[in-house]
Symmetry: C2
Subunit: 331 residues, 2 copies
DNA sequence: CTGAAAGCGCTTACAG
DNA sequence: CTGAAAGCGCTTACAG
């Protein structure tokens, strides 16, 4: 690999002049510039980003910390973050935590040391202290999907409204026995979906039927099990709300296995649409979360924070996106 | 952030001694060592990986270049690469190309310059020259899923066998009019699936019914459209093979929309199982690709190449994994 | 067993 | 308009 020095030698100038020409950081004589660019081309010179980073204290890299990718909203979000970052000249380092606080801690510790300028995280909520430390240490941080720390900016969807509005919607469709499949309420999104559900059910004078667990619950088996639980708890059930798509898919399957027709006997709505609802055999009504926009926005927020002068950092910002109901066959 | 210098000052030794103590690179007196570790702890010193990388010419990072994540095999593979890399002390930089050669080129160019020590790629096949250049320049490269370059190591599944065996399987179930939904044959995996299909059909004296396109074809609409094409081409169709899961899902839906029962009227098999087949309303028979093992293996191959001394690099290796048939309701 | 020095490839005041 | 020099934070021969 050619270095600045090689270019400088070939163009018969000092390395500093080459650097200035390449970065357009001060006037360089057109003739000199031409010689330099010719040399760059001939040697197919590419700057060493490591050295740039060391010198400038910037990596031009942002870390993305998410539980997992497959069949979750995080696949869309991660991809959106990556493509937006790339446009803005940043690379994306990814870590999957599987919602394990120990793995998360390990990832955060690696990221803090020169690996990245900023972090976008959907965290477990168990490493708050570390996260605040990292942020205080000068690394930009934005929370996505899960707002666990009030002192750190966030981009989330309005999960409370998701729960509330869906109950109201199902009520308007004639449902009175509405069950909820939820994940652990120790994570904010699940907690808030429940809050919304609870408030609406109370206002309407309906009785709650809930299935939940101390685990995150982001898998098919869990959703299947919860569906059975709900049916056992309340044989009169006429609607199921699933916190995430994969639970909704599991519910469809569990109902089919019991010969219960969707939506004729039980209506089903997923509270986290991420582009799979429309691809199913029975297409699934869902609240579509604007994953792409959220990823883009979080990327801009974290990069704005990175690039702001240290004496004028943007203030903490909590952004809430609305989900939109997409009606499909399941309701 | 504390630096080596800070630690050295606090422990009253030279930075070189601190470095040696921390890296266990030569004997350091136990007392000195103790002072150093105390200082490290007090300052909660963490080495700056950028500086280490610059000095050693190593980043301890590998780049992953894939078309996309959502609803594809690549989500599983990427996650497997990331967790395996992390265990081995490497971080993972990710790029999505959307199968666009221009984006791919841009990504590869960024990766080559100090960003990564190695690359694992499922490429478009349109930047072969660049890829060989990068490899020749000393960056380890392993191809995954798509083997486009014979001179670069690869980890793939036996797609030819997937096509061949599936025809044989469907034939044994009584099918004689077997259609194939495929992607562009300019990508090796699609081409080989077709080859296997073609050979088996010929051996059995059956007539081919194919739907394909110049595009990669990795989406639902395409699969839906191809299903309609196949049915128009051959109203007697009694089986459909879909190259990838998403096409299989689209086929199920298209058949449902035409009131064709699966598997009674048409049997369906996906040639690329990646853990979604079992989660569907009608569970889908598929050839399960060992994504996790493939990701792991590719990670080891690329890291072995990175860590081998430059005068003794491992030779090119092409690994082929077998897929295994998982029978479910759709066949 | 440890220190002083050079250098990885760049950028950026400082002169002129 | 351009060069010489310092320095980002490390590691590693080289002495002693």
């Amino acid at each position: 690999m050619a270095t600045l020095k090689d270019v400088a030698r070939l163009a018969c100038v000092d390395v500093s002049t080459v650097s200035r020409a390449l970065n357009n950081t001060s006037y360089v004589h057109p003739d000199t510039k031409a010689r330099i660019f010719a040399a760059v081309k001939e040697l197919s010179y590419q700057p060493n980003v490591l050295a740039q980073g060391l010198r400038q204290g910037k990596r031009h890299t942002i870390g993305v910390v998410v539980p997992r990718l497959h069949l979750t909203l995080f696949a869309d979000i991660t991809q959106s973050i990556e493509s937006e970052s790339r446009k803005l000249g940043y690379a994306t380092l990814i870590c999957h935590t599987e919602d394990d606080p120990v793995i998360e801690k390990e990832c955060l510790n690696r990221l803090r040391n020169g690996f990245v300028d900023g972090i976008i995280i959907a965290g477990t909520g168990r490493n708050g202290h570390l996260l605040r430390d990292i942020h205080a240490g000068g690394i930009a941080v934005t929370q996505i999907v899960r707002k666990q720390e009030g002192s750190i900016s966030s981009v989330i969807a309005d999960y409370d409204a998701c729960g509330y509005d869906t109950v109201r919607y199902l009520y308007s469709r004639g449902c009175r026995e509405i069950g909820l499949i939820n994940g652990t309420t120790s994570l904010a999104p699940y907690r808030e979906r429940y809050n919304g559900y609870h408030r609406a059910m109370e206002e309407l004078g309906l009785t709650e039927t809930c299935a939940t667990s101390p685990m995150p619950g982001n898998n098919f088996e869990y959703g299947y099990q919860c569906t059975e639980d709900l049916l056992n708890q309340n044989p009169e059930l006429d609607a199921i709300m699933a916190a995430v798509d994969i639970q909704g898919m599991a519910a469809i399957r569990a109902l089919k296995d019991r010969n219960i027709r969707v939506p004729e006997q039980i209506r089903l709505v997923s509270l986290t649409g991420h582009s799979i609802g429309g691809l199913l055999e029975t297409t699934m009504t869902s609240l579509e979360i604007p994953a792409h926009e959220m990823g883009e926005k979080a990327t801009h927020m974290v990069i704005d924070e990175i690039e702001a002068p240290s004496d004028n950092k943007p203030s903490v910002q909590h952004l809430v996106f609305s989900a939109s109901l997409v009606e499909r066959e399941s309701s």
